[in-house]
């Protein structure tokens, strides 16, 4: 038995090593990387020649990337993807991705672009290349209409509900220690706690609170943008500067016609109504104020 365990251990070790080697190949300078990493990304010309671009999107994140009842991809991310396909003059093959597999898809070049509500973070920047942002998110605070909170100062001495591990928890405990936090493990619990009146207000991503407030009468988002602003951007395989530059030029060019405002009107407005000002979500030309 001991022998078997030992052999098993070495087998696992060998496999891990093989992976480490494979992964480390992905780093390094752009030119050698393309040949070093076995997964080869495609340049703009190669995509055009093949007549098809592979774009990874969410298929279950309404209203950003989802599938309608006819089986067609829809949403804010998809609206941009469609335009990319049109301007490249190629067909689009959508690939349904999950939050946890987005980086892997790019590292293995199984998709050309990820357009799946991909928040730009330093950790991710080491593994993929982000283009200019086309959307931004911040925190929002929702509260009962009878006791509407429109300013952070009003929260002093009151209970604010947050979900554990979210940016809301980090932000308020670091910047506003005077506010008492009521923490829950799950999102549904936090919303239920607000309805029950266990807390005075609730904070999480502004897109989430805005959508929730629309469904739940008697609650309004009093603060729709607070805390650090995160941006959401398309991403390509690390080192694929050719495609990256093309996307950046595209985003800059689209600013003239206010393309992303149109995307907002088409996809987000039907959901958020007038509760959200496009200025709080949409980023034109990659410029975040």
């Amino acid at each position: 038995m001991k022998k078997i365990t030992k052999k098993l251990f070495s087998a696992v070790l060998a496999l891990t090593l093989a992976f480490a080697v494979g992964c480390s190949n992905n780093e390094g300078s752009s030119k050698s990387e393309n040949s070093g990493s076995k997964a080869a990304y495609r340049t703009v010309q190669e995509i055009k020649d093949s007549g098809k671009i592979k774009i990874g999107v969410f298929s279950d994140k309404n209203p950003f990337g989802y599938i309608d009842s006819d089986g067609k991809y829809q949403g804010y991310d998809v609206y941009f993807a469609e335009r990319i396909g049109k301007d490249l003059g190629v067909e689009i093959e959508y690939i349904s991705v999950e939050p946890a597999s987005r980086v892997e898809y790019l590292e293995t070049a199984k998709v050309d672009i990820i357009l799946a509500n991909f928040t730009v973070t330093d950790e991710r920047k080491e593994k993929v290349d982000f283009a200019l942002p086309y959307m931004k998110v911040a925190l929002g605070v929702v509260s009962n209409d009878n006791n509407l909170i429109t300013d952070v100062k009003q929260l002093e001495g009151k209970k604010l509900i947050v979900a554990k591990g979210t940016t809301a928890e980090t932000y308020f405990s670091q910047n506003h220690p005077e506010i008492e936090l009521l923490k829950f493990d799950q999102y549904t619990e936090t919303f239920n706690a607000l309805i029950d009146g266990r807390g005075d207000a609730l904070s999480t991503d502004n897109t989430e609170v805005l959508a929730w407030a629309l469904q739940n009468e008697g609650f309004t988002v009093g603060i729709d943008s607070i805390g650090a602003i995160d941006t959401i951007a398309p991403a390509v395989t690390k080192g694929n500067t050719d495609l990256l530059n093309w996307i950046n030029d595209e985003i800059k060019a689209l600013a003239e016609e206010e393309f992303f405002h149109k995307g907002f009107e088409e996809t987000l407005k039907p959901v958020y109504g007038d509760a959200v000002k496009p200025e709080n979500l949409v980023v034109e030309g990659g410029i975040v104020e």
Binding site: F19, G22, D68, D70, K110
Partner: protein, 226 residues
């Protein structure tokens, strides 16, 4: 508002899409199960061979497949093969590879156990009748093994069918994912759709798995009475 959730199922192509997803689930699990049973019987016979090296190798294979979560295996084949060797395997093929590798390992161990449970005199009597080794296996051992295998094999089959819900992680959209897509697409217009859609999915899994376990019971009864 009433029956909104149920109505969602019949909206547009939703029902067709669910059935399409179910077809993917059935295709991947049934083909994998079929191949696994065939290869598993061979592996099981190999595992009973009286050689230390073969036993160690098969044991490593079995334990590796058993310990590693299927999700990790899917990632290793789908993403790992591309990263390390530059081989681009599509999602469905990766799923087949993983499920066959896993199924064969589990099935092999079940077969090994079943063969070992067959009394030694069955082998000896066969040999005494001047049957060659492969004939002993083909006519005496395997038929008895298969009977003893049925309950566990059915268990493994239904487990494999249910585990196919993981393949969505490598981009293969099966019935459960289609369900979630429908729920999410209607989250603002019909928040109660989830209950109905999951109900339908439960029913779909049931009509796939139930006949299998029913058939197994009938077979067992039939053989028991013989």
């Amino acid at each position: 508002m009433d029956n909104m959730g149920l109505g969602i199922i019949f909206e547009g192509n939703n029902l067709l899409r669910l059935l399409g997803g179910l077809w993917i689930t059935i295709k991947i699990s049934f083909i994998s199960v079929f191949v696994s049973i065939f290869l598993g019987i061979i592996l099981g016979m190999i595992m009973t061979v009286n050689s230390r090296i073969i036993r160690v190798i098969t044991k490593i294979y079995l334990e590796f497949m058993r310990i590693t979560p299927q999700l990790v295996l899917l990632f290793v084949i789908y993403f790992g093969a591309t990263k390390v060797f530059g081989i681009d395997i599509d999602g469905q093929t990766s799923a087949f590879i993983v499920f066959i590798l896993w199924g064969t390992a589990e099935m092999g161990d079940l077969v090994r156990g079943a063969i070992l449970s067959i009394p030694k005199h069955q082998f000896e009597s066969g040999t005494a009748l001047a049957l060659k080794k492969h004939q002993v296996y083909l006519y005496i051992i395997i038929p008895q093994t298969i009977r003893r295998l049925i309950p566990q094999a059915i268990n493994l089959t239904t487990r494999m069918i249910k585990t196919t819900s993981l393949i969505v992680m490598i981009g293969v959209v099966e019935v459960l994912k289609v369900g979630q897509q429908i729920i999410e697409a209607n989250r603002y217009t019909a928040p109660d759709a989830a209950l109905w859609i999951y109900g339908v999915i439960f029913f779909l899994y049931f009509i796939v798995c139930y006949p299998i376990s029913k058939a197994a019971t009938i077979l067992e009864k039939k053989w028991a009475s013989n």
